[in-house]
C-alpha cells in the first residue's frame, strides 16, 4: 500500500489535473447554475483553483527558475486572489440584493430584459 502510494506520489501533473478539474467544474457551474448566488459560488471554485495553482507553481517551479533568489510570489498572489475574491463577492452580493429587491428573482436566466 505504502509502496503503491509512494510510487504514485502526486507529481505536478497530478496537481494540475486536480486544479484544472476544479476550475472546469467551477466553469460549468458558472455557465449553468440558475441561482445568481450559485454562480458566485462556482466562481469561487474557479478562483480557488487558480489560487492553488499559484502556490503549486511557486512550490514546484519558481524557486529554481529564479536562479537562487527564493521568492514567495506565488504564495502571496494567493493571498491577493483571496482578497479579490472577497471583493467580488461583496460587490456581487450587493448587486444581487439590489437586484432581488427590484426584480424578486435570483434566477440569472430570467435576467433578460436587456437583449436584442
Amino acid at each position: 500500500m505504502a509502496d503503491f502510494l509512494t510510487a504514485h506520489a502526486p507529481t505536478l501533473t497530478h496537481w494540475l489535473v486536480l486544479t484544472s478539474a476544479l476550475f472546469a467544474i467551477g466553469l460549468y457551474g458558472m455557465l449553468t447554475r440558475r441561482n445568481a448566488v450559485g454562480v458566485l459560488m462556482s466562481l469561487e471554485l474557479c478562483l480557488n483553483a487558480a489560487a492553488v495553482n499559484f502556490v503549486l507553481f511557486n512550490r514546484y517551479l519558481a524557486p529554481t527558475a529564479q536562479g537562487g533568489a527564493e521568492r514567495l510570489d506565488g504564495a502571496v498572489m494567493t493571498i491577493f486572489v483571496i482578497a479579490v475574491a472577497a471583493a467580488e463577492v461583496v460587490v456581487g452580493m450587493a448587486i444581487f440584493v439590489a437586484m432581488y429587491a427590484e426584480r424578486r428573482t435570483v434566477d440569472v436566466t430570467r435576467l433578460d430584459a436587456l437583449k436584442d
Partner: protein, 661 residues
C-alpha cells in the same frame, strides 16, 4: 500664278458673314424686331453671294484659259491639336468644286432668303427661322470650304443640326417633330460611319505621315484632303496589308466615309428621312433638302474621289447604291400624292444619279466626276425652283396634296410658267439645264462601260419625266378639286422674283462650262460635248414619259385607277414607300427599344442595383442574425467567452504552425 486677290485670301468672309448674322439675329434682333431680323439675315447671305460670285470670277482667272484650275488653301489656322504631327487646321480650300458649290449655295440661299421673307410672313418664329437659315448657310459654306476631313465632319454635323431645327420649325406639330428627329438620327447613324472612316483613315494616314520626310509634307496634316489624295500616300494606304473582315484599310475607310455621305444624300437604305423632312417649311426644303445639304454626300465623295478611285471596290459600292437609289426613288415618286414628297423622291433619284455618275468615273474615265458635279450644279437650281414653285402653290392652296389642287395655271400664271420650266429642266428636255448634265452622266456611264447603269439611267430619265409631269398636270391642269384651289391667288413678288431668277438659271445653267472647269486632277480630259447616241434615246424616253403622264393625268382619271388595279400589290408597296419606314420603326421601337434599352434599364434597376441593395440587405440581415446572439442570457455569453479562449488557442496554434518559425 498671279498674287491672290483679296477675296481669294479672305474667302473665310463668305461663311463668316452668315455666322455673324446668325449670332446677331439670334441673340440681339430676334426679340427686338422680326422684320429687321429677316432683312439682316437676307442681306448677310446676299453679301456672301456677291462675294462668292466675285471669288468665282477671280478664281477662274487665276490661270490662263485652258489650264486646269488649281486647288489652294490660302487661309488656315490650327484649331485642334491632337498630338505631335496631328492637328486640325480650319481653313478654306479653294478648288473648282468648292468654288462652284460656294456659288450655288450662296445663290440659292440668297434666293430662298428673299422668298422666305414673303413665304414666312407673319409666322410666329419668323426671326428664329432666319437665324437658323443663316446658321445653315454658314455651316454649309464651312463644309464646302473644308480643307480636311475634320472640318468637313464638324460642318457636316452643324448642317445636320440646323436641318434638324428647320425641319422641326413647327415644333408644335407632332409630325414635324418626329420628322426632325428622324432626319437627325438617321443622318447621325450615317455620320457614325463617317466618324469611323475618319478614325480608320486618320490612324493609318498618321502612321504614313509620321514615316515621311518632313520636307515632303509641305506642312500638310494627316487628315488634310491634300495629304490624303496625294498619289504617294494613296499608294501606301492601298499597299497596307491590314484587313478587317477581308476588306483593306483603304476600301474600308472609303466605304465608311461613303456611309456618311450616303446618309446626308439619303441614299438607299438611309433615304427614309428625306421624304419626312418635307415637314419643314417649303423654302427650307428647297434650300436644304433639294439644293445644298443633300448634295453634301455627293460632294464628300467627290472630295475624296481619289481615295475611292484608288480603292475601286468602294467606287463600285457608290455606283451600285446610287443607281439603285435613283431607280427605287423614281418608282416611289410615281405613286406619291404629296407634291413635296414627289419632289423629295425626285431629289433622291437625282442624287442617285449624281452618285452613280461618280461611281462610274475613274482615273481612266474621269467624265463621270465632272458630270456628277455638273448635274449637282444644274439640279440645285431647277430643284430649288421646283420646291419654291411648290411652295408658292402650297401657299395658295394651303395643302400639299396634289389631288386638292388642279387648274392652277389660270390663277397662277407666273408660278405655272416657272414650274413648267423647272419640270422640263428636270425631265431633261433640250436646251434646259437638266438635259446637258444628265446627258453627260449617261454618256459617262456608257463610255466607261457600265451598260447596266446606263440602262438604269435611261429608264430613270424617262420615269423622271413621267412623274414630274404627273404632278405638273394634276396641279396645274384639269379642274380645281378643292375650295382653296378654286380661288387661289398668285404669290407676291418677293416670292416670284427669286423664282424667276432660278427660272433663268434653270434654263441657262446648262451652258455654263462646268465640265470644263471641273476636272479630276491628274486624269485626262474627257469632255465630248453632246453625244447624240445618248441624247436621242434619253430625249425620246423623256418625251415618252411626258406623253404617258398626259395620257394618264391630262384627262380622265379612271385610266389611272385601271392601271393601279392592274399593278396591284406593287403599286401599294411603292405607294407605301416599300414599307421601309415601318421596318425601321419596327427595328428601333420593337427591337432596339424593347429588347435592348428596356432590358438594360430593367437590368440596371433590378440586377445591378439589386446587387447593391443585396449588399445592404446582406449587411442588415447579418446584423440581425448576429444580433440574435445577444439573447440576454448571461451564461450564454459566458459560454461564448470560454469558447473564444479555445478558439484563440487554436487560431494561435494554427498561425504559429503555418506561418511562424
Amino acid at each position: 500664278m498671279p498674287p491672290l486677290s483679296f477675296i481669294l485670301t479672305h474667302a473665310w468672309l463668305i461663311p463668316a458673314i452668315p455666322l455673324l448674322s446668325f449670332l446677331l439675329v439670334g441673340l440681339v434682333l430676334r426679340p427686338v424686331s422680326q422684320k429687321l431680323a429677316g432683312l439682316v439675315a437676307t442681306l448677310a447671305v446676299g453679301t456672301s453671294a456677291g462675294l462668292s460670285w466675285l471669288l468665282a470670277w477671280d478664281f477662274l482667272h487665276l490661270v490662263p484659259h485652258g489650264q486646269p484650275l488649281p486647288a489652294l488653301v490660302p487661309w488656315s489656322f490650327q484649331w485642334l491639336h491632337f498630338q505631335e504631327n496631328f492637328a486640325i487646321n480650319l481653313g478654306t480650300l479653294l478648288d473648282p468644286i468648292s468654288v462652284m458649290l460656294l456659288v450655288v449655295v450662296t445663290t440659292v440661299s440668297t434666293l430662298v432668303h428673299i422668298y422666305s421673307t414673303g413665304y414666312m410672313h407673319g409666322e410666329p418664329g419668323y426671326a428664329r427661322y432666319f437665324a437658323f437659315l443663316n446658321l445653315f448657310t454658314f455651316s454649309m459654306l464651312g463644309l464646302v470650304l473644308a480643307p480636311n476631313l475634320v472640318q468637313m465632319y464638324v460642318c457636316w454635323e452643324l448642317v445636320g443640326a440646323s436641318s434638324f431645327f428647320l425641319i422641326g420649325f413647327y415644333f408644335e406639330k407632332p409630325s414635324a417633330v418626329s420628322a426632325s428627329k428622324k432626319a437627325f438620327i438617321v443622318t447621325r447613324f450615317a455620320d457614325l460611319g463617317f466618324l469611323l472612316g475618319i478614325l480608320v483613315i486618320g490612324f493609318y494616314a498618321y502612321q504614313i505621315h509620321g514615316a515621311m520626310a518632313p520636307d515632303l509634307l509641305h506642312g500638310q496634316q494627316p487628315l488634310d484632303f491634300a495629304f490624303l489624295t496625294r498619289p504617294d500616300v494613296l499608294a501606301r494606304l492601298a499597299g497596307l496589308n491590314v484587313h478587317f473582315l477581308g476588306v483593306g484599310v483603304l476600301t474600308l475607310s472609303a466605304v465608311l466615309i461613303y456611309m456618311g455621305g450616303a446618309g446626308k444624300s439619303a441614299m438607299f437604305p438611309l433615304h427614309i428621312w428625306l421624304p419626312d423632312a418635307m415637314e419643314g417649311p417649303t423654302p427650307v426644303s428647297a434650300l436644304i433638302h433639294a439644293a445644298t445639304m443633300v448634295v453634301a454626300g455627293v460632294y464628300l465623295v467627290a472630295r475624296c474621289f481619289p481615295i475611292f478611285a484608288t480603292s475601286g471596290e468602294a467606287l463600285t459600292v457608290v455606283m451600285s447604291i446610287g443607281a439603285f437609289t435613283s431607280l427605287f426613288a423614281a418608282v416611289i415618286g410615281c405613286t406619291q400624292d404629296d407634291i413635296k414628297r414627289v419632289l423629295a423622291f425626285s431629289t433622291l433619284s437625282q442624287l442617285g444619279y449624281m452618285m452613280f455618275a461618280l461611281g462610274v468615273a475613274s482615273f481612266a474615265h474621269p467624265l463621270g466626276y465632272s458630270a456628277s458635279m455638273f448635274h449637282l450644279f444644274t439640279h440645285a437650281f431647277f430643284k430649288a425652283l421646283l420646291f419654291l414653285g411648290a411652295g408658292s402653290v402650297i401657299h395658295a392652296v394651303h395643302s400639299n396634296d396634289i389631288w386638292h389642287m388642279g387648274g392652277l395655271r389660270k390663277h397662277m400664271p407666273i408660278t405655272h410658267a416657272l414650274f413648267l420650266i423647272a419640270t422640263l429642266a428636270i425631265a431633261g428636255i433640250y436646251p434646259l439645264a437638266g438635259f446637258f448634265s444628265k446627258d453627260e452622266i449617261l454618256a459617262a456611264a456608257l463610255h466607261s462601260g457600265h451598260t447596266v447603269v446606263f440602262g438604269v439611267g435611261l429608264l430613270v430619265a424617262g420615269m423622271t419625266a413621267f412623274y414630274m409631269f404627273r404632278i405638273y398636270f394634276v396641279t396645274f391642269w384639269g379642274k380645281p378639286r378643292s375650295e382653296h384651289a378654286a380661288h387661289p391667288h398668285e404669290s407676291p413678288w418677293v416670292m416670284l422674283a427669286p423664282m424667276a431668277f432660278l427660272g433663268v438659271l434653270s434654263i441657262g445653267a446648262g451652258f455654263v462650262p462646268i465640265p470644263e472647269w471641273v476636272q479630276l486632277p491628274g486624269a485626262p480630259v474627257e469632255h465630248e460635248g453632246i453625244d447624240l447616241a445618248v441624247a436621242i434615246p434619253s430625249t425620246i424616253l423623256a418625251l415618252a414619259g411626258i406623253s404617258l403622264a398626259w395620257l394618264l393625268y391630262g384627262g380622265a382619271p379612271e385610266r389611272v385607277d385601271n392601271l393601279v388595279k392592274k399593278l396591284g400589290g406593287f403599286y401599294v408597296a411603292a405607294k407605301n414607300k416599300f414599307y421601309f419606314d415601318e421596318f425601321y420603326l419596327f427595328v428601333t421601337h420593337s427591337v432596339i427599344f424593347r429588347f435592348v434599352a428596356q432590358p438594360i434599364a430593367w437590368f440596371d434597376r433590378n440586377i445591378v442595383d439589386g446587387l447593391v441593395n443585396l449588399g445592404g440587405w446582406f449587411a442588415r440581415t447579418a446584423g440581425l442574425l448576429l444580433g440574435k446572439l445577444q439573447t440576454g442570457q448571461v451564461q450564454t455569453y459566458g459560454s461564448w467567452l470560454v469558447s473564444g479562449v479555445i478558439a484563440v488557442v487554436f487560431v494561435l496554434w494554427g498561425v504559429l504552425k503555418s506561418g511562424g518559425n
